[in-house]
Amino acid sequence: MSAEFLVACDVSYQYPTRRGIQSLPVLSCLNLGLVEGEFFCLLGPSGCGKTTVLNLMAGFLRPTAGALTLSGRPIERPGADRTVVFQGDDSLFTWLRTIDNVAFGLRMRGVPKNKRHAIAREYLHLVHLDGQESKYPGELSGGMKQRVQIARVLATDPKILLMDEPFGALDAQTRGRLQDELVEIWRKTGKTIVFITHDIAEAVLLADRVGVMTRGPGAQVGAIVPVELPRPRRRGSPGFGEMWEHINTIIESEQADVS
């Protein structure tokens, strides 16, 4: 397991008891190991606890039992080595210009203004937002806002990118373009990516490996499916449909188990 990078070991999570009502565990004894540099998709139906897994990895939540480690060090709080791209656009700082949104993490680290703006410009270039530096988030389209989020997390040079259905709210065309660009960014930067989605096709298109989550309560990562299709992938590429079917069968058989 030495090659493993981010490891979740027997992780359980249960929301705190409120007014004497015991909640059901969201996750129980979840195990997962990520390899450095891989593109990992976590796939599962809505409400199964995907976001909880991501929140645990980010350090926003602490597991009720078990532990998560990154390169052997326990994850106990949020840190700039694990940055999150959120689902909606409400995580952008609406009072800051695009460039200052991207430079936010560097500012927190005390990087001087000129330097952090220079770095932010590089990342804006990487996500094809040249010339949008001085706009406010409110003046950008949905796709552009998600690009800003991606540039913002990359600018802090994290070890791992956690993405929570980042393209879920976009129209099909924009989503397709951003998926391609994300693969390109991943290839250029070599970052490890954990990408949450409920869309099988999106997972097949993007991932090196797809972790299929079981139904909650007490969800786990069930099957882990390696996707060894050559890149760049297209929805019509040979093997794409078969892979889609394969994963869909896993999900369906699992739902059959429950019912």
């Binding site: 409400d90 936010f104 993490g105 500012r107």
Partner: protein
């Protein structure tokens, strides 16, 4: 349709018009004509009703009010009243906001601070400043301090409550994003909580400004010998209804102008903190 336009064009037509004279002169629109017609119509109606049905002492017409106003302007009396009231309003308003905004931010962000102050905030915001007149005079005398305190008191609760609402409305994802980008809790407060709450603070201040104009009359009931509140309150004794009307018109006009000016400043210098409509 979804093209990206500069922020200013997203504003309602006329939002900045009040203080941008070139625009106003350049294109007086139908909307403006209706405003003017409405105001002129109301003054004519006022004149007709006052002349036809009432004695001037009971309900003075616009001509009488204008004549008295001219006298008061000539003697310098009116501007003295306006000046001193404006000074009290602005001092009280600024002090009140300066106290309430930080306290509201702390109450919104730190549960212990909220638990300590919330009972008082929730209790005293229902007690009008007028109820405090006598104790305030007893404790602070009949000087400027008492008058300003009354306005500070009114301002505080409005700004405080709005600030707390603002903190409660921050999207959790913003705070999460800041945390995972390496912000410590203090930096997160400074760089996220504060700017994200600013639109609410500014809105609270704008509302509080309105209340300060309403409260100046109460404040100047404290042994004042000047100010619009004094003018209104004192004219009562002489049945000088025309002077009361002048006080009323001045309060309304001053309030309107200050509000527009405040809004202009926000749009001009702080528009990224959200429109405060």
């Amino acid at each position: 349709m979804t093209e990206v336009r500069p922020l200013r064009q997203h504003l309602a037509p006329g939002a900045l018009g009040w203080l941008r004279f070139p625009d106003l002169v350049g294109k007086i629109k139908g909307e403006h004509l209706i405003y003017i017609a409405s105001i002129v119509g109301m003054i004519v109606l006022w004149h007709v009703v006052a002349k036809t049905f009432f004695k001037p002492q009971f309900f003075p017409g616009p001509l009488l009010v204008l004549a008295t106003a001219k006298e008061m302007i000539a003697s310098g009396e009116l501007f003295e009243h306006i000046g001193i009231s404006l000074q009290r309003i602005l001092t009280g308003f600024l002090i009140g906001s300066a106290i309430a905004a930080p306290v509201g931010l702390m109450m919104g962000s730190v549960p212990v601070v909220r638990a300590i102050f919330d009972p008082y905030a929730q209790f005293f915001r229902f007690v009008p400043s007028l109820a405090w007149l006598t104790p305030v005079v007893l404790w602070f005398g009949i000087g400027e301090i008492s008058k300003i305190l009354i306005i500070v008191y009114t301002t505080m609760f409005i700004v405080l409550i709005n600030t707390m609402v603002g903190v409660a409305h921050i999207a959790p994802n913003k705070l999460h994003a800041a945390a995972c980008l390496g912000a410590t809790p203090f930096k997160s407060f400074l760089h996220v909580t504060l700017p994200a709450t600013l639109p609410f603070i500014l809105t609270g201040m704008r509302l509080a400004m309105g209340n300060s104009f309403a409260t100046v009359v109460a404040a100047e009931m404290i042994a004042a010998d000047s100010g619009l509140g004094y003018l209104i309150f004192n004219s009562r004794l002489w049945m000088a209804t025309d002077k009361i009307f002048i006080g009323i018109v001045c309060l309304g006009a001053l309030g309107l102008v200050t509000d527009r000016f405040f809004r202009y400043l926000v749009l001009r210098f702080a528009h990224q903190y959200g429109p405060i409509e």
